[in-house]
Structure formats: structure tokens, C-alpha cells
């Protein structure tokens, strides 16, 4: 019977000591331990969340990078295309211009040739006329001396002229 009869003294000591232990542990052990645990859990959670966020940001960055790259590629292609186009255009233009210029020069040359030719012909005509006059002059002068010789002379002159 004694073991199931609570002793008053022990209840007293148990109550006092347990409450003191409870108070001391609550203040100096459980409070810092639980708050540290919570702090650590919170920091782990924040770290995880931040890692997730960083991953998301990385993905976004990668996507935007890729977009930029694609845009740049497109731009480059466009620029290349434009440059080619411009180059061909320029070449064409130059070619056209050259042809035109050539044509114009040929025409000019032709004109010049024609002019020269005309001038030459005129000069020939002039020279021929001069010669004719000279011949005529000489004939006229010979006629005054001998008519047979005059005829011979005229013939020889004419022969000369023909040779010319």
C-alpha cells in the first residue's frame, strides 16, 4: 500500500524542483534552441526559395539572350542581304554608266573622226584645187612658148595627178 500512497514531501520537492527546472530550461535552453532551429529552417527555406528564383532568372536571362542572339543573327542576315543588294546595284550602276560612257565616247570619237575626215577631205580638195590652179598656171605659162610641148606637159601633169 505504501508504494501507491503519494508522499507529501516528495510531491512538494517534485513540484518545486520541476517548476524551477522548467523555468530555467525554458529560459536558457528551450528558447534559444527552438529559436535557433526555427532560424535555421527559415534560412534554409529562404536559401531554397532564392535558389529557385535564381534558376528562374537564369532561365529568363538565357531566353532573352537567345532572343537577342536570334535578333542579332536576323539583323546580320538582313544587313548582309542589303549589302549584297547594294553591291550588285552599284556594280550594275557602274556597268551601265561605263557602257553609257563608252557609247558616248565612241559616238564622240566617231564624230571627231568624221570631222577629221571632213577636214582632210576639204584639205585634199583645197590641195587639189591649188594643184589644179598651179597646173593651170604652169600650162598657161608653157602655152606661151610651144603648143606641142604644152600638150605633152599637160599630159605629164595629168599623169602625175592621177598618180596622186
Amino acid at each position: 500500500m505504501q508504494i501507491v500512497t503519494p508522499e507529501f514531501g516528495l510531491i512538494f520537492w517534485q513540484l518545486v524542483i520541476f517548476l524551477v527546472v522548467l523555468f530555467l530550461l525554458a529560459k536558457f535552453a528551450w528558447k534559444p534552441i527552438l529559436s535557433s532551429l526555427k532560424e535555421r529552417e527559415d534560412s534554409i527555406e529562404t536559401a531554397l526559395r532564392m535558389a529557385d528564383q535564381a534558376k528562374l532568372e537564369m532561365q529568363l536571362l538565357k531566353a532573352s539572350n537567345e532572343k537577342l542572339l536570334a535578333e542579332a543573327r536576323q539583323e546580320r542576315d538582313r544587313m548582309l542581304h542589303e549589302a549584297t543588294q547594294m553591291a550588285t546595284q552599284l556594280i550594275d550602276q557602274a556597268k551601265n554608266k561605263a557602257t553609257e560612257e563608252g557609247g558616248r565616247m565612241i559616238v564622240q570619237a566617231r564624230e571627231a573622226i568624221q570631222n577629221e575626215k571632213n577636214a582632210a577631205l576639204a584639205e585634199v580638195k583645197n590641195t587639189a584645187a591649188q594643184l589644179s590652179i598651179d597646173i593651170a598656171e604652169r600650162i598657161l605659162r608653157r602655152e606661151l612658148t610651144d603648143s606641142a610641148a604644152q600638150q605633152q606637159l599637160v599630159d605629164s601633169y595629168l599623169k602625175d595627178v592621177k598618180l596622186n
Partner: protein, 355 residues
């Protein structure tokens, strides 16, 4: 197969123990001169409290630590002296021990505040707890934000288990207020259960005064944190017809008391029973007066002792879990759905009336 056989033998031994235990007691009356071994008396002496700390005895000598007697007698005031003065049954300052019970010679009232073996063990284990957990708390201060180490890493999973599996699940969002009590009660019971298994130590958690105090604290915390739903459940149990209330209200009120009562008895009985079983196995050697019984006794004693190591933490867990459940039942916010179902506790497993 071998284990089964051993268990059967163990069972047989336990069942037949009272016969052996009674035999010497019966013969003792006839032959009082022959000092027969009385296992019942020995066991009760070992599991009970005492005013001195008896370590061991040889044939002629006893190694005993005498603890202070502190007695208060109305009119005479406080008396303090060493228990050595009354150890052999003599009286000192009008006080004497009768079966480890302090009484006054003149039959007056005595309030015994002595630092008994249990009170002394309580002091020692409390100091041990304070030392252990200040080391753990220091670890958190020293390694703020980094991984736990040593004693800290041993205690951390247990503390987290109590927080996550016991407090959070049983109490709910208001668990934080009750964490200090739950943690203290868990480690107090566990430490003292383990210390109680140490040879020569006191059987503190197997003492009804200690479990009574712990259960009372649980009851007080439950009552002081109870809300209107808790009392509503007691005085107007949902789903119970009006005419049944005169029966239901006393039943529910008794339920308030039986919860801590069961806590008190469960811890006391489990720990005391474990000690009794171990001591019984050891007693077998002296009952048979044969050294040949020793190996068997020791094997079973060891088996039960290892089992008691498990029981030590299990009982601490159960006490803490049930305390958390009772608190959880008191602070729980009921939903309207409960009233419609009217099933009472069936729908809410956290109540646990049956424990």
C-alpha cells in the same frame, strides 16, 4: 524457436513467482529466528523511497549515504538533522522512522519535507538536465546557422520530433506556447527512467508522488488553456439529447480527471513493474539458494533491462504525446461540421478519451 522457449520459461517463472514469494513469508512466521529471504519486502524496499541512500552491504558493513531529515511539526517548527540519528529505529528530537515513514513519538502531525532518496535523485537529475541542455543551447549559440555537433546533434532530432510529431500534430497552430513544458516533461521522464535503471539509483519515475505531480501539472495546463469549445463539449456534448445530459455531464467531468489519472498510473505502473520484474529475476537466485540459477536469472534480468531501456523512452514519449493531445483537445477550435455530425470524439482522433 530458442527464444520462444526462453520466453515460455520466463513466463513460467513470473507466474510461479508469487508462490516462491509467499512461501518464505509463511514459514517466517513459524521460524522467526531464521532470517529468511523475503523477496516481496526486498523488492518493495528497492522500488520505494527511503530516508537514506543505501548503496550495498557486505556481511558486516553497509555503505549508506545518510540524507537530511527535514520535518515540520505545527507548533514546533522546522527540525533538520541527518537520517543517521534515526536509521536504526531510535528516536531523535521526538521523531522516528516506522517503515520508512517519519512519525512523531507523541503521535502528533508531522510534515515530512526530508530530502529523501527520491528527492535527492530528483535534484541530481535536474542538475544533470540543466547541464546537458545548457551545453546543447550553447552549441546553438556557438554554431549559429551551421550544422549541429556532438551532444547538440544527438538531442536535435529528439527535440524536433517532439516539436513536429507531437506538438504540431496534436496541438495545432498554438503549439509554441506549450513546447517548454512538453520538452521538459519528455526529457525529465526519459532521464529519470534511465537513471532509475542504473544500479543503486532511485526509482523516481516509478514513484506515485512524482507521476501525480506531473499529471497534475498536465491537468492544470489543460484546464488553464481550455477554450469555450472544451467546456461546451463537456456541458453540452454535441449530438447528445437533452435528457441524456444529467448522465453525460458527470461522465465528461470524470473524464477530465481520468485523463491525468491515467497518465499518473501508466508511468508509475510501467516503471515500477519493470523494476519489480528485474528484481524478481534476481531474487530467484536467493530463493533457490543456488548459484546455478544465476545465469538464467541474469539472462532474463538483462533481457528485461534492455526492454526497460526501450520502455524508458516509450513512456516518456507516451506521457508527452498524451499531454499534447489533452492540451490539443482543450485549445482546439471546433468547426460547425462537428455539430452536424454529432459524432463527438469519433470524428476527432486527437481527443483520445480512452487513454
Amino acid at each position: 524457436m530458442l527464444l520462444m522457449k526462453r520466453l515460455l520459461i520466463a513466463l513460467f517463472c513470473i507466474l510461479s513467482l508469487p508462490v516462491f514469494a509467499n512461501e518464505p513469508a509463511a514459514t517466517q512466521a513459524e521460524a522467526t529466528e531464521k532470517e529468511a529471504f523475503n523477496p516481496g519486502e526486498m523488492i518493495l524496499h528497492h522500488i520505494g523511497d527511503s530516508h537514506e541512500w543505501h548503496w550495498f552491504s557486505t556481511d558486516n558493513n553497509h555503505l549508506t549515504t545518510y540524507l537530511p531529515i527535514i520535518a515540520y511539526r505545527p507548533g514546533q517548527g522546522l527540525t533538520v538533522f541527518s537520517s543517521k540519528r534515526i536509521a536504526e529505529g531510535e528516536a531523535y528530537e521526538g521523531l522516528k522512522l516506522e517503515h520508512e515513514h517519519l512519525v512523531a513519538e507523541d503521535g502528533g502531525k508531522v510534515y515530512d519535507f526530508s530530502l529523501t532518496k527520491n528527492a535527492f535523485a530528483l535534484l541530481l537529475s535536474s542538475i544533470m538536465m540543466l547541464v546537458v541542455f545548457s551545453i546543447v543551447a550553447n552549441g546553438y549559440k556557438k554554431r549559429q546557422g551551421s550544422a549541429p555537433k556532438g551532444l547538440q546533434s544527438f538531442m536535435e532530432p529528439i527535440i524536433m520530433f517532439i516539436r513536429d510529431e507531437i506538438a504540431k500534430k496534436s496541438i495545432g497552430p498554438k503549439y509554441e506556447r506549450y513546447m517548454p513544458y512538453l520538452l521538459t516533461v519528455f526529457f525529465f521522464i526519459w532521464f529519470n527512467n534511465l537513471l532509475g535503471l542504473t544500479p543503486g539509483a532511485a526509482n523516481l519515475t516509478g514513484n506515485i508522488a512524482v507521476t501525480l505531480t506531473l499529471a497534475m501539472l498536465t491537468l492544470l495546463i489543460t484546464l488553464f488553456s481550455s477554450n469555450k469549445y472544451y467546456w461546451g463539449h463537456i456541458f453540452a456534448t454535441p449530438g447528445v439529447p437533452m435528457w441524456l445530459r444529467p448522465i453525460m455531464i458527470p461522465v465528461e467531468l470524470i473524464g477530465v480527471i481520468t485523463k491525468p489519472f491515467s497518465l499518473m498510473v501508466r508511468l508509475f505502473a510501467n516503471i515500477t513493474a519493470g523494476h519489480i520484474v528485474i528484481l524478481s529475476f534476481i531474487s530467484l537466485i536467493f530463493i533457490f539458494r543456488s548459484i546455478a540459477v544465476a545465469p538464467v536469472s541474469l539472462a532474463f534480468g538483462l533481457f528485461i533491462n534492455v526492454l526497460e531501456l526501450l520502455v524508458a523512452i516509450l513512456q516518456a514519449y507516451i506521457f508527452t504525446l498524451l499531454t499534447a493531445m489533452y492540451i490539443g483537445g482543450a485549445v482546439e477550435e471546433h468547426h460547425d461540421a462537428d455539430l452536424q455530425i454529432g459524432g463527438g470524439d469519433g470524428a476527432a482522433p486527437a481527443h483520445g478519451h480512452g487513454h
